[in-house]
Symmetry: C2
Subunit: 764 residues, 2 copies
């Protein structure tokens, strides 16, 4: 490995001080003179026709400056439809409880609330469709009569096609699964279900918009891409993107939820209508009701293997409950991410994305992969038990590696799955087995395909040799810090010499959305290119000063010189100052862009030791260890933080969280009732960093953020099985659910009986 | 001339709407939560020792959060001295009335004022030195005992050198003036004096500073360079530049005055001390007292010529009264700019910059050139009268053109002086001579060497084919509009497709100060380079899409294609969108930098018709015409506006403005007593645009802003002479001064008698 000065070191996050001292600015912190406050009237019903909507009394209320309904949306008037990336304002009917019906802007929050009360809506209540299986039946009430399956999700039904609640359907596979299952020594089939969960970010949704200079609209909001906000608001308002400026603010957690813009388009519209700045901040309750959670999944998976545990055939039916709107299918991603880790000669997958009368769902950290892995990795555990093979060993026998076919039909580049499993194996070999009654150990693996998008970066070299890195990408996870480390390394200056600047949509070059663990991997490459562009200029300038050819000079040791000739050297600071103050090429500013690159797969392997209280059903995570191939660790501290954070979320999903719904209406929209894990619920999480360099990322980096949530659900379910002999197939594994499963009741328990009859062995 | 679509058109200023509707944001419009208000305690005396300074009572006042004196300045503690670009805080003694002695920051302005009253200062009053002639005498009181002449202006005296009030002294010349004068048929010598005048901007000085994110300081202030503010504040606070971020705000006029930072460094220091945002806004009175006006000048000029009016020799003594501090000599610039328009074989100039106990002076539109031209162009008029030659014709006989030696010893590049004079001559030939009693016509010329500095620009191409131009240069005169025209032309898109973004010191690439009519000339070149860089990338991307070589493609007609092959064409918008959404080079962002380039001389010729009321001495400008070589007129409307604005200022300087000083203390620091011209005082100003392309600027542009003030003083003095037969050698030509001159009293009148004895002829 090359010797680096700043890369690989444990720098503190550049945003740490501001965040812990409370000086960091979030969208809700923005206050402007004469600012109005917006409030959203939301449907109390999951499915109803709107027979009458009268906003006249609200409009007439003193202090109300604007009231809008779907008919006021310029983009809708221009013929566009807005789905789950937008506020989904109701037209004629409401299709989920919490759907916006009207929005007001008033002088203060009290008047805004009063105005909402004055809006008159007559609803004709319709039967809500809340269960995917029911929703898929031919005679089910149709949520979107003009929508049809297997078309562009935003398009209307073609004439004559049968309306359906199936938003999307696809079958895919390879080989011959029927022949495969016939050849297999063992065939297991199970159905696994995950619940919808909130992304659990700290900061509720907020937006401030101000119609201002030159008739342009300036927006501050929580998002995963300022450029995506600009694009969404421009479409909603039917304006060119150049009329909108989106400013950077700190984001209090996103995890996939903050790409959709549920507030900024209506906030901007209210500002346009009123001519004044407008702020809307969701209450925690509103946020829990209306933000787009991870979709519920039902996955039936059948595996066939030989006696040694080699997979021969896999078939699966994947059904995702998308709620009332969707713009992108989820079910296939669950299959691809769930099944990719293993070599599977014969495969058949049937995928469904289904509409129900629930809040539209969205992305949550490694979206779909976590649900997919719960099914696959639970099933792998059951297979290991059935065959009496150590579950880690079973995975090693099926491990996918470089050159193997992925589910996308292309082949794996260099990946570190095997190395990650080996590292976990070695770690476990140093620890005893979990001891004590009702204790057990589970292992599971996770895969993430990697998000992609374009990026670009500017780097401005200051006269004192410090540099400013100007980025338009949203930092959710500490990426500013790792990107600053890259720039410092590239210029050979200390970490403190780099200022990372979050530009806005005017000042920063374009970058795509912060998703899919792509930021450091792709923006890192753009930063490298920008630095190289600047260094090329510095070499040109040094050549002028030293009266040499640029080709005779190199950038090294924080300046430009001739290798091995100390007196032919000019420091970065001297060069930058000279470029600014004298003749030559002028100020040094570099640019770097990267187009949509190749995906870079990532693998993890987790182990949990749990203890189950048989009297209460409570699962306690005794210890947890997560191994991950990160390619190259730019900042081990940040990586460990990402892993530990993801595991915390995975534990919540596995044993605590979940929406309680009644007729599609959320019953627990508070953090008292929607139980997120606290530090008291969480174990210390040990991390094992594996570095098998990627072929695509700068210095061989891979993405880090998504993969460590992927195996958590199965890891814990497998551990609970190890501790109790009971297989939990439905999540969450709350004390109540585990208690009843231990009593032989509930779906999980029933399936367990089925499994038991097949003669599994506890291998922990 | 090439055919352009956007260049040469009369686009409205991009900032027009915001400014006329009052939505534009200036520094004083910035309000932050918990903001404090700063006030400056200023010396009431022009020259005094500070025997005691006690701020303890002010510090103890409730609501006062910070009090600073010179001893609190970190940069001063670090051994730096701060002169006229800085707040010049008093140490041990005060050297001008208005000098800051202490500064407070308090919860509101009332408390701040009260705190100032509680500061106790014991002064020992010293004799103020207020006259340059007195100041230069060997026995004059020495203002800076540790300062010596002819050294770096900021350095202390070397041991043993004699202290002096002469800050700077230089002699230069060429040929043999004594021999020249002997050869001359006529020799004239006169002394001309100009008064100190305020730059007359609308917006008084203001600054807001906030210690914020990551311990960095954010500053909003009126300035001519955000990067210079950063540099000044960093030095004052002894911090690296990367710890300071200077934001763009609109500037309400600057004209050279707003490069020095009289508020932002102390505002930033108060914020550092208090930990809270601080705002300081000067009252109009404070601004008139303490801002650095144009220096007073005394120029004695002797010219020798042959009978045909060809100049043979010129000698001059140039004395500038710089006030209490200076960082840059002025006197030589007056000589260079004043004498450059003409071919002068023998020349000798003696230049002095002198300290007095007055407010430090600064730059004012074409600094020093206007004072120099007043002497030269008055003297040329007197020469024409003495020889009976038409004054325009006399200038044509001496006109400098390409290849002639400049006073800087290099040679003129292509210039349009002759063409400008010819255009004026042709214009005058279509108009009759001024008719009526006491009416007369004056003509004078002006020269401006051109300011220089480095610049750089970024251009971001949006997915819809609009572009954002990111600049770090301050727009004082409409430069955003002309630069947007350049970008639109370069990309072949409409003017509206370009958004010009004023970046801050973090997001924008470095650009030097907006001075010397350099911005469009130099930034225009940087913008062209940035556009070219982006177009090169677009060609690369088009080559990928069209499966062709980049060398086969050209950027034309708003896209990339093959010349003459319409189906091999991709529009800018399609290319930009494809670059962002697909594989390839990624988002398109261009950068362009320009190092300090060659100066580009500019010439103007003005004519005024005036009427003088012999009973009151009041001079009325009947008509005014200004001809100017602009190289290439990007936006004729903006150029006309610049010319008309400059002439308005020149008229104020010539006949109205001036500080009334008593013992160095300003007696008229209000706009009632300091009389600026209003629209009722001003004539309509006709403009004649001449386009002799420069060899340096993009499309041949030259600077525009400075030159049209240069000849105004002499134009009007020459017209007054034409109207009355009286030569005004001292400014301003107020009614009172003209009245007494008409009565044969006063310096001007005395000199006039001398001239009359030489037998001048009225040539109008």
């Amino acid at each position: 490995m090359a010797k680096y000065s700043v890369l690989g070191t444990r720098q503190s996050r550049v945003d740490a001080l501001d965040k812990v001292t409370g000086t960091a600015i979030y969208a809700a912190d923005i206050n402007l003179p004469d600012m109005l406050y917006g409030k959203v009237l939301r449907s109390p019903y999951a499915h109803a026709n709107i027979c009458r909507l009268d906003v006249s009394k609200a409009r007439a209320l003193k202090g109300v400056e604007a009231v809008i309904t779907v008919d006021d949306v310029p983009g809708q008037k221009a013929g566009r439809e807005f789905y789950s990336n937008y506020p989904c304002m109701a037209r004629h009917k409401v299709v989920f409880a919490g759907q916006p019906v009207a929005v007001v802007a008033a002088m203060n929050q009290d008047i805004a609330r009063k105005a909402l009360e004055l809006i008159e809506v007559d609803y004709e209540i319709l039967t809500p469709v809340t269960d995917v299986v029911e929703a898929m039946k031919p005679d089910a009430p149709i949520i979107h009569p003009h929508q049809q399956a297997n078309l562009n999700l935003a398009s209307k039904a073609e004439e004559g096609s049968a309306p359906s609640n199936v938003a999307w359907h696809k079958e895919f596979g390879r080989g011959d699964v029927d022949a495969g299952f016939k050849k297999a020594d063992i065939v297991l089939e199970n159905t696994f279900r995950t619940q919808r969960v909130h992304q659990g970010y700290l900061e509720p949704r907020a937006a401030v918009a101000s119609v201002g200079l030159g008739g342009r609209i300036t927006i501050w909001t929580d998002s995963q891409s300022i450029f995506r906000v600009r694009e969404f608001c421009a479409a909603f308002l039917d304006l060119p993107v150049s009329k909108i400026r989106v400013m950077p603010v700190e984001i209090g957690g996103a995890f996939g939820a903050k790409t959709p813009q549920l507030l900024s388009p209506i906030c901007a519209l209210l500002s346009l209508k009123s001519g004044r700045p407008v702020k809307i901040v969701m209450t925690r309750e509103e946020d829990l009701i209306t933000n787009h959670p991870a979709p519920d999944s039902t996955i039936t998976i059948k595996v066939g293997a030989d006696k040694e545990g080699h997979l021969i055939a896999v078939s699966a039916t994947v059904i995702f409950d998308k709620g009332a709107f969707t713009e992108r299918p989820s079910s296939m991603a669950a299959a691809v991410n769930g099944l990719s880790p293993y070599v599977i000669p014969n495969l058949k997958v049937d995928c469904y994305d289904v509409f129900t009368n629930k809040t539209p769902t969205g992305s949550y950290r490694a979206p779909s992969a976590t649900q997919g892995a719960f099914a696959t990795e639970s099933q792998m555990d059951l297979l290991a038990r059935a065959l009496g093979i150590d579950p880690l060993e079973l995975r090693l026998r099926n491990v996918a590696s470089e050159g193997d076919l992925m589910l996308t039909a292309s082949r794996f580049p260099r990946v570190g799955f095997k190395e990650t499993l080996e590292k976990m194996k070695q770690y476990l070999s140093t620890r005893g087995k979990p001891e004590g009654e009702n204790r057990g150990r589970g292992i599971a693996c996770g895969f993430w395909m990697g998000g992609v998008g374009c990026t670009s970066a500017h780097v401005n070299v200051n006269a004192d040799g410090t540099v400013a890195l100007v980025l338009g990408v949203v930092d959710l996870t500490g990426s500013r810090t790792s990107l600053a480390q890259i720039a410092a390394e590239e210029f050979g200056i200390p970490f403190e010499g780099v200022t990372v600047v979050s530009g806005d949509t005017d000042t920063a070059p374009h970058s795509d959305v912060t998703v899919g663990s792509r930021t450091t991997h792709e923006m890192g490459a753009a930063v490298c290119r920008a630095c190289q562009d600047a260094k090329d200029q510095l070499i040109q300038h040094a050549a002028l000063l030293l009266k040499m050819k640029p080709s005779e000079l190199v950038f090294a040791n924080g300046g430009v010189g001739v290798a091995g000739v100390p007196d032919k050297f000019i420091s970065l600071a001297d060069l930058a100052k000279s470029a600014i103050s004298g003749p030559g090429g002028g100020p040094v500013t570099g640019r770097g862009s990267v187009g949509t690159p190749q995906q870079t797969p990532m693998f993890v392997a987790h182990t949990a030791d749990v203890e189950v209280d048989r009297e209460t059903g409570k699962v306690r995570i005794v210890s947890y260890v997560a191994a991950q191939d990160v390619g190259f660790a730019i900042n081990p501290t940040l990586i460990e933080g990402q892993i530990q954070g993801a595991v915390s979320q995975g534990i919540g999903w596995a044993i605590m969280e979940g929406y309680a719904l009644h007729e599609g209406i959320i019953q627990n929209p508070t953090l008292l009732d929607y139980r997120l894990p606290t530090s008291l619920d969480l174990p210390s999480v040990d991390t094992l960093i594996v570095e098998v360099k990627s072929t695509t990322g700068p210095y061989g980096v891979r993405g880090v953020g998504e993969p460590p949530i992927v195996p958590c659900l199965a890891t814990i379910a497998n551990a609970v099985h190890s501790a109790t002999g009971v297989r939990m197939r439905d999540l969450p594994m709350t004390p109540e659910a585990v208690f009843w499963a231990l009593q032989g009741k509930g779906n999980s328990a029933k399936e367990e009986l089925k499994r038991d009859s097949m003669g599994a062995a506890d291998c922990s």
